[in-house]
């Protein structure tokens, strides 16, 4: 079956698809999170050294992974937005940014709560923590720039360029921070030497990561719908869609 994917680069044809996608991935996210939490909290054994405190890993690791991954996806959409001058790509990048910032903040927050009982401190200037903090600043910079520019099309392009400059910088920042940390002091607790984990623990992390992934897609699609409605307000296709809804035809958005 041949699908003309370019058809969906128009907000008009993408809107219904986003509506369905948001609902489907939302359901997936809920199911996976339920299963993941069951594995994480009941099935997985208590850690020998860290006790039950380690269980925050099931939120912490997926959040940290998603924070980095979402930035990458955002950079991809930004490149498409600049390269093809595509409106919808910029909207996708815009829709992903808040979730990325939330994930980075969540990773730092849960990390602090995990660090307290195991390391004895909420915060250490560990290389990974510092680069996640800078990643959070990059997200906040993109959000602030979006907020500061009136014209949405100009904001699209400005944010896309900033995201791409940031994306090139992320590995440099990561390695420079690692270098800085190793120069100053040996890391007291190393993440790189992975402790042997029980298979159920790994399974829990992977299921929770899949849940976080589905959640991100669902939220981004729901948000992109809101962005489309906001920007296309007054467009006839949107008004006729609303008209259909009011008469009970068509499905309500997620």
């Amino acid at each position: 079956m041949l699908i003309n994917w370019y058809r969906f680069s128009s907000p008009v044809s993408f809107y219904p698809l986003a509506s369905i996608g948001a609902q489907v991935f939302g359901i997936f996210a809920a199911l996976l999170a339920g299963a993941g939490l069951f594995v994480a909290l009941y099935v997985a054994p208590t850690d020998a050294t860290q006790g039950d405190a380690y269980r925050i890993i099931y939120v912490h690791v997926p959040a940290a992974w998603m924070a980095m991954f979402i930035y990458l996806v955002m950079a991809g959409w930004s490149a498409a937005a600049l390269g093809f001058n595509a409106r919808l790509s910029a909207m996708m990048a815009q829709a992903l940014a808040p979730t990325g910032a939330i994930m980075a903040a969540l990773a730092l927050w849960t990390g602090a709560f995990w660090g307290r009982p195991t390391w004895g401190t909420y915060w250490a200037w560990d290389a990974r923590m510092t680069s996640t903090l800078i990643l959070l600043f990059l997200y906040l910079g993109v959000l602030a720039l979006r907020n500061a520019i009136e014209d949405p099309r100009r904001a699209d392009r400005a944010c896309a360029l900033l995201t791409l400059v940031g994306a090139v910088n992320v590995p440099i920042i990561y390695f420079s921070v690692q270098w800085w940390n190793t120069l100053h002091q040996g890391s007291s607790i190393s993440f790189t030497v992975a402790p042997k984990m029980a298979a159920t623990m790994v399974a829990g992390i992977l299921i929770m990561t899949a849940a976080a992934w589905c959640y991100t897609i669902a939220v981004a699609l729901a948000r992109v719908q809101a962005i489309i409605v906001e920007r296309e307000r007054g467009a006839t296709w949107l008004e006729s869609l609303i008209d259909l809804r009011q008469r009970g035809i068509g499905r309500s958005p997620a």
């Binding site: 600049l82 800078i134 600043f137 990059l138 906040l140 910079g141 602030a144 720039l145 907020n147 500061a148 520019i149 009136e150 099309r153 100009r154 392009r157 400005a158 360029l161 900033l162 791409l164 400059v165 940031g166 910088n169 440099i172 920042i173 420079s176 921070v177 270098w179 800085w180 120069l183």
Partner: protein, 251 residues
């Protein structure tokens, strides 16, 4: 791109379209654009020397506040010195960034520059070089003097100057992108800081690390090499990003 009604001429003439016979020759066109941007912005900066003095005074002031807030002990100062001198250099660079494009943006000169047949990245690189000559270079020259107040030894002081000479151009080039992106945006200085300072982090790490390494009796060659490599990449790649940021701002 909007057409302005009349080209708003500032005191320095916009003669980017002279030497039209040269535009065939790509190299001379690039060099000409660079030289023009550099000469014009240096000339404008030299006409407001007080601004430049305030810039440098800001650096001196920030650096002088740290002993007041921590301790006058030589050991503490020698330990803090490289970091303080570098962080203050970042802030001084940040403070001066709006000058890079804002004036030209307000009076329409930037639009004329972008419309000229000369390559915009070279023009932007010239303007950025002028920005560095008038803000980064004075800081790098001043820093060893202030470093002496922080009880840094001679080798640390010369390394501080070298590291700042290599690092501050990168700050100007990265900052040019942020300065162009925030043209006409709300939020002003705080927004610019949020955009630019995270990108400055690697320069800070390698720059302050170089001075720290010399102070600890180690070789700083790795830090200096990384700063140099960063400078080369920045000079080659960032003017293109800054030029597209200028075009976005003028859209």
């Amino acid at each position: 791109m909007n057409d302005t009604d009349t080209p708003a001429l500032r005191s320095a003439p916009i003669d980017a379209r002279v030497d039209e016979d040269e535009t065939d020759d790509a190299m001379s066109s690039v060099l000409g654009a660079f030289a023009w941007g550099l000469a014009r912005d240096v000339r404008i900066a030299m006409r407001s020397k007080a601004d430049l003095g305030v810039q440098l005074l800001f650096y001196v002031l920030v650096v002088s506040l740290f002993p007041l807030s921590t301790s006058p002990s030589r050991d503490v100062l020698a330990m803090l010195g490289p970091g303080v001198l570098w962080t203050a250099a970042l802030l001084a660079s940040l403070l001066s960034l709006p000058r890079l494009f804002a004036g030209d943006f307000v009076d329409g000169t930037l639009e004329q520059i972008a419309l000229s047949p000369r390559p915009l990245p070279a023009l932007v690189l010239g303007k950025t070089a002028a920005h560095w000559l008038t803000t980064g270079l004075p800081v790098a020259v001043m820093a060893p003097l202030l470093g002496a107040q922080y009880a840094l030894d001679g080798r640390s002081l010369s390394m501080l100057a070298i590291a700042l000479l290599l690092g501050t151009p990168i700050l100007s080039l990265l900052g040019a992108i942020g300065a162009a992106l925030t043209l006409g945006a709300r939020g002003g200085g705080g927004l610019l800081a949020l955009l630019v300072l995270p990108l400055y982090a690697p320069v800070l790490i390698f720059g302050a690390g170089a001075v720290d390494a010399v102070g600890a009796g180690m070789s700083a060659s790795a830090n200096v090499a990384l700063l140099g490599a960063g400078l080369i990449i920045a000079v080659v790649a960032l003017p293109f990003a800054a030029a597209s940021a200028v075009r976005i701002a003028l859209d």
